[in-house]
Symmetry: C2
Subunit: 307 residues, 2 copies
């Protein structure tokens, strides 16, 4: 199953990390933006072409050492449909290069609408007699505030097309406490969300012991991370918040189970903007990203339980 | 402000309803799908062209009697980037025809990512020295599970570009109770979400008395709707669940304040699929949608408080 493939790839590369492809105009090396603007003007299409070139370069630089890529849909959507096209093409290239794709779309809706999102990003769409793919990612992030009606259509698609989802449980941002940490009886809201997701995911547990229903749990709350790891042994964690957001390797250690599995840690700016710290105006963005990814791998491995 | 324009348009047309543009291949009149497939094959591009033609026809049929349109992004995204293009073009046409656009995207993220979503759908994007628009809707739906970090960037964009948001509070689906109805002290979770949104929206209240931060509250829970109306006097409600989902006019009456304002009721399939009940194979889809929209208007007016 999808989540098993992810875990195998992590073990094979000895690297439980995913690089977040979160492009903003100022994250793109200036020579790349300038070339596309010279060709296409100051347009969204120029920026989209620059995002795609930057993404392909990063994929080339990282695909043999990092198991997965997490495109942040918001930054591509910011460029309108041209940006969405750029995300689709860049991820097709990532797939070609063997990267596992976690589409960070945080979609959440109900019934036929949730089914449409799951078909868009993970499944197939029937047009006439043809079964076609919209984006064909390996997994996506979702938001479960609407309850199980909003999660089940995704699970159906995961089972049918061998995919996975990561639902928001405890996010890495400061205000995640406002709602997620509310006390419901003796529990926090995020505990209940985690438990609901675990129950829904019971029907789709792969040979590695993890469910196709994963959870997003931020690195910035290490104690919560540790407790959730204990409570949700079959839930694979996607862990944002490492690096630029303030989480250190010691903080994310608790995300892993005693086999050293069950989690993948994201870094976005720390890797894709590494060129901003080397003083070469981005001409070395691939080398800088690779060096940053290798440093992150060492950092994470140093805190991992031995398998 | 945006929300005032919506309220004015509702009063001017005497119609507090919005038609949901939720296209699925089976909702498109067969002759439209067939023509585009004959031209472009069984492709996502053919379906996208059919969605656009169908949407434009509905806009023509409804723009003088219905104040707003709510495209469901999931159904367009299902067709990949071609579908997203179709949504953008169809909404540009809706804007030309004077309809207020509520983009049903239910986005939710934090910090720079929330800012990117708000720039994409409501704001502007700077590329070089140009300020460009991605989608330029009048408002969007959002999900506030991540807390105020995820809402504030949208409010900033609303203030800057005269836009509005509708955040999920109590949704119309059966499993909305699983999380939204959890008891937190003496309140329900959705009450706390509603209160948080009201507080965040206090800084952006327009002359009509409503804030740019609206709420999604389902028609299928009339008692909850009534209580939320009392508690959130300055919050404009977007009310799904009327018609196909089971809500009746009597159920949605409680969404309105004593001026007969403060809410807009959505119907999707009831209007766009009205052709499926007339026995003309969809050749009359515009007339059928118009008749359904007029019937809905009468139904809603019959329960409205007098202003």
């Amino acid at each position: 199953m999808s989540i098993d493939r992810l875990q195998e790839k992590i073990f094979a590369l000895g690297n439980p990390s995913v690089f977040g492809l979160d492009p903003l105009p100022e994250y793109i090396p200036p020579h790349i933006m300038a070339r596309h603007m010279a060709e296409k003007g100051e347009t969204l299409a120029a920026a989209a072409a620059a995002y795609e070139e930057f993404g392909r370069g990063l994929i080339d630089a990282l695909c043999d050492i990092v198991p997965a890529v997490k495109p942040q849909s918001a930054f591509f959507e910011m460029l309108g449909p041209e940006g969405v096209f750029a995300m689709q093409r860049t991820m097709a290239y990532a797939k070609e290069k063997g990267l596992y794709i976690i589409g960070d779309v945080k979609r959440g809706d109900i019934g036929s609408t949730a089914a449409a999102y799951s078909a868009a990003y993970l499944g197939r769409v029937q047009i006439g007699s043809a079964l076609l793919t919209g984006f064909d990612f390996d997994s996506v992030t979702i938001n479960a505030y609407l309850g199980s009606d909003g999660v089940r259509p995704f699970i159906e698609t995961c089972k049918k097309y061998d995919k996975a989802i990561f639902a928001l449980v405890k996010t890495s941002n400061p205000s995640s406490k406002e709602l997620q940490d509310l006390s419901v009886g003796s529990e926090k809201l995020y505990d209940i969300v985690g438990r609901l997701l675990m129950a829904l995911g019971e029907e789709a547990i792969g040979p590695s012991g993890y469910s196709c229903v994963g959870a997003v749990v931020g690195a910035t709350y290490p104690e919560e991370l540790r407790l959730l790891r204990e409570k949700l042994p079959r839930t694979f964690f996607l862990v944002p918040g490492y690096g630029a957001q303030g989480g250190a390797a010691g903080d994310v250690a608790a995300a892993f189970d005693d086999r050293g599995g069950g989690a993948i840690v994201n870094s976005s700016r720390g890797i894709i903007c590494a060129w901003q710290k080397t003083g070469h105006e981005g001409r070395d963005y691939m080398e800088a990203a690779r060096a940053a990814a290798l440093a992150m791998r060492e950092d994470l491995i140093s805190v991992l339980p031995r398998k």
